[in-house]
Symmetry: C2
Subunit: 340 residues, 2 copies
DNA sequence: GTGAAAGCGCTAACAG
DNA sequence: CTGTTAGCGCTTTCAC
């Protein structure tokens, strides 16, 4: 049989409540007693039963991460990894809930799943973090949540993001510094808040440089490699093609790179290519992709910290629960000055 | 307040035990009563509290997946995704436990983490599935586990894998069919069981074709892109270079591809490149990588099914709990007949 | 087929 | 500072 709190209490000659206090690091226990208890805990190899604990207290020590990413991209994987690791450090467990919002009834499914688990909080990743009906449901059951890069309605909950627009501006500016004037841009999927922001950053850098942006230089995309190929072919197939292409994420940048290879256009000799995210794929390309590093792991970890903070339930709108993490411009081999 | 079993029992005019029986799909309930109860459950939106249930019964409806993958490759992500989705279908939850076996004391940490959760079972992925001391610990606490591709000691538990050797043989054979005779091979990380098996498959295909394998044609690797670059440079930098290179996974194949690009060697014109796994990176390369599709998602799902099977606890060595899933040779653009 | 009573292992609330 | 008393919400006996 497994060791229970009673066994420990008995052997240590104290009440179960005292053991409980020690295990939870509460104050008001004499240091000597605490040591005695800890020793017995070690001896017996006692581990509190998480279910019993959750049943009698309000907390479950369980956090949820809701993910709607059919492609299961490096972005989602990195988020998960970051949240997982931090959760463990803080003695919480993470329950990842994959969601497919294309399927009718997904919200109800999701709510059912979490209703029985009594999560202490949830992390909402894009694009779920923008689905108001989901937010309302969570609020209705008073489940605290933190959104990652929602891009709007930021007072509604804790938020972790980066300065998407600033980052896109910085990348565009970098390309301009290299001497590029005719720059193509491939957009992300419209459901993500990052999409308009990255475009805005691109446009504002172009405008600030006094450069016109030909409408044909902005093509739609959806963050997939395939979209990058198609966008790349569209941009590079024109008679007067851009000397640089900024794709809204790395997978699309790789697609552009593939399109260039197909067309016999060299990178970065004939065309420079930039991505966004610095996901796992950006590094396994040749040439490696110049990109914006988005600290997805740290972002997820920050979300965990916010959720665990006891003060968060009281004041979810507090400024300190809105964290913007730094991005970084990573210059690799896919960008160079334009051919003269 | 949330709805409890009592509320349902009261409103339906039955005992809590009857509600419990209905919720658990037990026999011995009159159909009409069952319907009444179900209706009330719907009306009230009742969801059983997983903690209360786990506390009083033996089951937790929680499965663990232990992952030791510092690189957090597509392989691990795919496994996770497959297990996650199947777990939800079966009304279980999956608790992913990332592990870093390079850190002293990881086993104890892991055991602590799971002790409090009373998992119903665990999925062990490579290379954890080969760590005997871990297996012993799990057996000591009677936690059923299923191993993914352990490569040895297969009677010890349920196992899900593919025919690694056969797959490597098939790939090599395909390259031979194309006309290649001088084929380089890059090995995986030694801690994975797949590593010697893939090499064995390669060697046996070469031997069967009556071809000698120069020792210099087999270079070490560790499944990373970097190792692929290094291995590729080693193989392609030689005066008499191989006309094809078979890397033990996709990331390394991409590394070879990058090395070839650096050296000005065209793919597949001058050298053919093949990978293994068909992970997310294989498709975002140019040219796309010819590879072996390993159904990682299905493998993880199969592991979930085995763990949930009530018969598994009794007879973990039963043949039906050893499943070998089919692999598939995926021909893409990175392979072609050798230049004449 | 159905129900009553007794916990599962822990913590909250209150005493002392 | 420490202990006692009640449950948390469910399932398990074991009656009926």
């Amino acid at each position: 049989m497994t060791v229970t709190i009673k066994d420990v209490a008995e052997k240590a000659g104290v009440s179960t409540k005292t053991v409980s206090r020690v295990m939870n690091g509460e104050a008001h226990v004499r240091p000597e007693l605490r040591d005695t208890v800890m020793r017995v805990v070690e001896e017996l190899g006692y581990r509190p039963n998480a279910f019993a604990r959750s049943l009698s207290s309000a907390r479950s020590y369980l956090l949820g991460m809701f993910l709607d990413d059919p492609a299961w991209s490096g972005y989602a994987a990195g988020m998960q990894r970051g949240a997982l690791i931090r959760s463990r450090q803080r003695h919480y467990h993470l329950v990842v809930e994959p969601v497919d919002s294309r399927i009718e009834g997904w919200e109800i499914d999701l709510m059912h799943g979490i209703a029985s688990l009594r999560l202490d909080g949830a992390i909402l990743t894009p694009p779920l973090c923008r689905m108001v009906s989901l937010l309302e449901r969570l609020e209705a059951i008073k489940l605290p949540y933190v959104r990652i890069s929602p891009g709007e309605d930021e007072g509604r909950s804790g938020v972790v993001d980066i300065d998407e627009e600033g980052a896109a501006f910085a990348m565009t500016d970098y390309l301009l510094q290299l001497g590029h004037r005719d720059i193509g841009f491939i957009e992300g999927i419209p459901s993500h808040a990052a999409t308009p922001k990255r475009r805005a950053g691109f446009l504002s850098a172009m405008h600030r440089a006094g450069l016109p942006v030909d409408a044909a230089n902005i093509v739609p995309g959806d963050f997939t490699f395939r979209a990058g190929i198609e966008g790349g072919e569209a941009l590079l197939g024109r008679s007067k093609r851009p000397t640089a292409i900024f794709a809204s994420n790395d997978d699309m940048a790789l697609g552009v790179s593939a399109a260039a290879a197909k067309l016999g256009i060299s990178v970065p000799g004939d065309v420079s290519i930039a991505g966004f995210d610095d996901g796992p794929t950006a590094r396994v390309a040749w040439p490696p992709i110049t990109t914006i590093r988005q600290p997805v792991g740290d972002m997820a970890a920050a979300a965990v910290d916010i959720l665990i903070d006891p003060a968060y339930r009281e004041a979810p709108a507090d400024r300190r629960f809105h964290q913007q993490l730094p991005y970084e411009l990573i210059v690799r081999g896919s960008t160079a000055p334009p051919a003269s």
